[in-house]
Amino acid sequence: MTIRFAGDSGDGMQLTGMQFTATTATVGNDLATFPDFPAEIRAPAGTRAGVSGYQIHFSSRDIYTPGDDPSVLVAMNPAALITNYKDLKPGGILLVNTGAFTESDLKKAGLDSNPLTDGTLSGYRVVKEDINQRTMEALADTELSKKDKLRCKNFYTLGMVYWLYSRPLEPTMEWLKEKFAKKPELAEANTKALKAGYNHGELLRLFQGHYEVPKVENAPKGTYRNIMGNEALAIGLVAGARLAGLKAFLGSYPITPATDILQHMSLLKNYDVITCQMEDEIAGICTAIGASFAGRLGMTTTSGPGLALKTEAAGLAVITELPLVIVDVQRGGPSTGLPTKVEQSDLLQAMFGRNGEAPIPVIACATPSDAFDCAVEACRIATQYMTPVLLLSDNYIANGAEPWKLPVIDELKPFPVEFATDPEGFSPYSRDEKLARNWAKPGTPGLMHRIGGLEKDAVTGNVSYDPENHMKMTEIREAKIMGIRDSIPTPQPHGAESGDLLVVAWGSTMGATRAAVERLHKEGVTVAHLHLRHIWPLPQGLDEIFSRYKKIVVPEMNMGQLARLLQSEYPDYRFKKFSKVMGKPFRARELKAHFAEILEEK
């Protein structure tokens, strides 16, 4: 079941969507969400540029994406209607706020005629309702300004939708109470509107159907929580530092869509977390390097343009072999590009965007809750191998939400760091069996040493211009990173064990890919989905997996970056690219159609 709320960015659609999500999670549905808001803080009200949307997909079965085309669309004004209706499933329900369809509203949306009457919407089940008017009426005897009353219309709408899906009103009423603790009159008005909307739905039976989505039947037992990707990532970083026995230090600079991570971690001061918002991205990563040198776990969070700025300093972390987690929440590029849209186009930058031979492990998270696991994994690799790690997320994960089965605390495996303390035979560049160097922190008597960006002697760590030493160090740095393979599992294909087609995906394309492959597989096609969490080093055993399928395709929200990487690593196979660079995630349906095409080729 997929529903999309769309309205002017001033209409509170994000809030409406989030409330619906929260309530849906509490009734035990599996869900995924995808907000879509405009880049402008406030585009002129009523224009197409100002449209803000929020889509949520929920079901009693496991779901992997915020849904393909919605089957219900709520449109609060003409601009929202016109920019979204094409996505609605044929025969889908369209709830329209006719109160915002005056001449001038139509003009703001750049419309010459009224889509409600000009035939545009044939093929949909259109429910017209003057929500503005209904809301005003519902609040007639409330002591609020007209403007404030009108603001409650999103809760009226939410009430209608709650009725449609048989959702309880209580969670939202609770939330309103807390949120407007200091302005009880607003809490009351919104609650009134909510109830009125609900009642309106019930009384008038406006909609043809009345959906009831049962609880997920075989959801694994456990404790759940609804989580957004950026928050999961923030929590994961803090947890990761703890599991390493360290305190987290985040040096960062705000940038969409990564800012939330910094914001969330700023709240966690009572978890031994220090956050510094620095003057720019370079200072962000540099303070993190300094903090790691001082014995904390340094981290830095950013998006593509910020990552570009951090690359020189990332090289310093490579050669000084200090642990560091670099998070890149990808957005549309190049340059400023499409800052509020999703893309996976920083993969090769993450791999190669540094001067000299500067290998860094790369990990990518697949879903909001997976961001927690990946953040912990990044901390593990950083501290166990004394290396910077690049963790890739994207805007779709960052702002998406899903129910998260919380790990049992005792089952989280710690990976405690042991600092060097013994001056006897100490050398900052002596290594353990994993090739990780010694970590001695300032303040430790007898271990004073200097590190830096010039090439190091393989034994003493002093500056060395020796040719053989440089070759050796280059090889050690590479071997260390490749050695991480020994600590990561070989991912297993989901679907057919062997056969006609293998779909290799990474990052947030996971959900749509899984759904598309499952559908095809159910239809009897021997197809499987292989998901890569570790982009570099690539896990062992992929070769053997690739050999079991006749064709391999790699769907990516870029021009084929992972495909290129795989092609250079596994020339015995052919990796077909399937690109979508539209600032929007893949839909399971379009993937399925494309896979079917590939299967038919030659």
């Binding site: 929580r225 947890a239 220090i274 390097i289 300094g290 989280l412 200097r450």
Partner: protein
């Protein structure tokens, strides 16, 4: 911690050969810092020296402390991370006029306004030494260098004014060729709680020999500079017979007797700023010593205080608290 033993300057010499040109002003700053650190009563292992890139920035290798020879211009940012992560450390930044004012200018001004407790020693030789002689942000206009063969067109910064404009709590100036003066200044910087900005006039014998000699040579030094000492009269001259008298925003030369008393702790940075303007007047001595020294909470201290306060209110968070917030639900 065991009893602190009295350290000697030579305890701070590392086993690396010092590799500056013979005659380079960097040598004397190295000695000055070693002597100053020995006297600070700080355990040797608690010193961290962070530098950028440049001749001057090779400094950490020669010091038996923890150190990082980082990348060009970023020393202040890295040092900020070190200090905030562990405020027990005594953190020093070594930088040059190129490293700290050109590519690193932004980190410089931001660390000064934040008042991160670290000592920033800026080796000003008015040239890029390591890259062999290009003009820097302190090179005087008109000077011919490798990248300004017809004369530099960029008006230089006055490092003192830049630091004051950024809100620095401690600003001072000294010179390579006056080790005694340098030691007093370095000691004052070391004792300052907060970001201490020290400009050191440093001679680059190879690419900019004599840049400061009109003020630093023994023969002229007493006439051409005035040493500012907190609470003392501003006196200068070979015979210490001249003084500076401040009258409004004007400063005039007077007799030693009539000289005004210098106060680097003035609430306003105005007087120090006005004083630094003397650099532009060829008829006036250039001010040396501590131009400004005021107290303001340091960033590192505040960060830790805030962590403490939040932890005090909310209680120390466990891994469990982090994950299991109140909006969880059970599937049974």
């Amino acid at each position: 911690m065991s009893e602190l033993q009295q350290l000697k300057a030579k305890d701070f010499k590392s086993d690396q050969e010092v590799r500056w040109c013979p005659g380079c002003g960097d040598y004397s700053i190295l000695s000055g810092v070693q002597a100053t650190m020995a006297d600070m009563g700080v355990p040797q292992e608690n010193f961290v020296i962070v530098s950028g890139i440049g001749c001057s920035s090779r400094f950490p290798y020669y010091m038996e402390t923890y150190g990082m020879h980082s990348i060009h211009g970023r020393a202040n940012a890295i040092a900020t991370g070190v200090k905030v992560a562990n405020p027990d450390l005594s953190v020093w930044v070594i930088t040059g006029d190129g490293d700290g004012l050109s590519i690193g200018g932004n980190h410089m001004i931001h660390s000064l306004r934040r008042n991160v407790d670290m000592k920033i020693i800026l080796f000003n030789n008015e040239i890029y030494g390591l890259t062999k002689g290009q003009y820097s942000p302190t090179t005087p206009m008109g000077q011919r260098t490798k990248t300004s063969p017809y004369g530099s067109l960029d008006a230089p910064f006055n490092p003192i004014q830049l630091a004051l404009g950024a809100g620095a709590t401690f600003v001072a100036r000294t010179m390579d060729v006056n080790p005694k003066h340098m030691k007093t200044v370095l000691r004052a910087a070391a004792e300052h709680k907060g970001a201490a900005f020290v400009e050191v006039w440093q001679n680059c014998v190879i690419f900019n020999d004599g840049a400061f000699k009109s003020w630093t040579e023994k023969a002229v030094r007493d006439e051409e500079t005035v040493n500012l000492v907190a609470g003392e009269k501003m006196i200068f001259g070979k015979d210490q017979d001249k003084g500076l008298k401040t009258d409004g925003c004007k400063i005039e030369i007077c007799s030693a007797e009539d000289a005004s008393v210098w106060d680097p702790t003035h609430e306003s940075p105005g007087p120090a700023f006005v004083m630094s303007q003397l650099d532009n007047d060829p008829n006036m001595p250039r001010p040396m010593g501590v131009l400004r020294s005021v107290s303001r909470p340091t960033l590192d201290q505040q960060v830790w205080d805030q962590v403490g306060a939040v932890t005090g209110t909310k209680g120390e968070g466990s891994l469990k608290d982090l994950l299991y917030t109140k909006d969880v639900w059970e599937v049974k």
